[in-house]
Symmetry: C2
Subunit: 245 residues, 2 copies
């Protein structure tokens, strides 16, 4: 029973998140349907992590177990054909090593958050960026973002619905840079709490537009209180970009 | 009666091209409706050039004449508000100099064509790139593209429906480069024939994938015969990127 490891890309807009929930459209449901169409096997897709409604991915990693042994390339091409016209693409398929698991073997997850920082709203990037009109100082944001790096209690940046047992996480990377009109935020951690990236991104933009100082961000983190969080950034700008194993 | 010069961005997918044609959705129609909503004036939008169904723009230039004198910033913000939820954005508004005309004053128009060159289909870029699976040699394409630069009879690269009086055009720039999985083609000319960019892009991709040589492209150009053109590249990958005055 071979296990196939796949890297996938998707546009999160049409889905109620990654995870299948009854008849609601989900990335997981769409892929499971494509597998059924391709080889008749009703399987479960396992992902390195879930994404929320409207959140995109350029490097989500999943696995499936199939009874029959197919060449990886056949699986990739067949699934992409069966996924039409869903905005989900199988970028890469490999036969996984014994014992490897998309979720449990993951050592680091990476997210990117994209802010379109200009007066005019997005046209080509509708639903794919957060539009912030007020000028952002990306360098100041980057400097202050370092407050979040390290091992902390991230209760402030955690959704009330989060089911993780502990709010303690180690943030490895928090980097901010400007590319023209776009401000890019990058985060890496072994794992994230529910809405942690959007909570941190929203609070960091408060810093970028000059409403919060370094001390304000530090105080918010140290408060360990959800009410101390800045506005939660919308799903539109969030991309799950990669996983390391 | 002030004339407003505007730079606009749009996603071409929902529109039957730039030009208003009865009740069909068009970029021009959407902007004219927004102007009517903003100030009650039923005006005509003039563009530097038309774009076809599904063709995008990041730097189209238009003008409108209004009876009342508004601040440029007011016009921009009001039109963007009235354009919601259309994927059209007014990037910049300026009061035009006396005698300036979006179409007649234009000295150079620029287009970009985007090819996604990988096995997997686009997910996030559906409808916004041409997906070509076969590996493309962008350097070879760039070298051969220089055959098209200069003053030529572009009959081969002109749609049968083209209404221009002459097929003679001067192509100033034809440049091809790779950025990761994307091959970018850039073209600049005082003006283009109908479907000229897509016709040149499709023929150049024949070169990139190794089906055409430099001599084949040269022979196609010199044939001055529409039947000598390669496959016309789809609208999805085409972006009108800018105009010089």
């Amino acid at each position: 029973m071979p296990r196939y490891r796949m890297t996938i890309e998707y546009d999160g807009r049409p889905y109620r998140g990654f995870q299948a929930q009854g008849a609601l459209p989900s990335v997981q449901g769409a892929i499971e349907k494509a597998v059924l169409g391709f080889c008749g096997e009703a399987i479960r897709v396992h992902a390195s992590g879930r994404t929320d409604t409207g959140v995109h991915a350029t490097g989500q990693v999943i696995h499936i177990d199939l009874i029959k042994d197919w060449k990886a390339e056949v699986v990739q091409n067949a699934l992409n054909a069966h996924l039409v016209p869903e905005p989900i693409s199988i970028l890469d398929v490999q036969v996984a090593e014994e014992g490897w698991h998309a979720r449990f073997s993951a050592k680091e997850r990476r997210y990117q958050y994209r802010v379109l920082n200009r007066m005019a709203p997005p046209a080509l990037e509708q639903g794919r960026v957060w539009h912030v009109k007020k000028p952002i100082d990306a360098e100041a944001m980057h400097a202050v973002a370092q407050v979040l790096v390290g091992h902390h209690d991230f209760t402030t940046f955690r959704d009330m619905q989060c089911q993780a047992k502990s709010p303690m996480k180690t943030l490895d990377v928090a980097a901010v840079r400007r590319e023209g009109e776009v401000v890019l935020l990058e985060f890496a951690s072994r794992s994230f709490l529910h809405r942690q990236v959007r909570s941190m991104a929203g609070s960091l933009v408060e810093v970028g537009v000059g409403r919060w100082t370094r001390d304000d961000l530090k105080a918010a983190l140290e408060a360990r209180d959800r009410r101390a969080c800045g506005p939660v950034a919308p799903a539109d700008g969030l991309y799950f970009t990669g996983v390391s194993y």
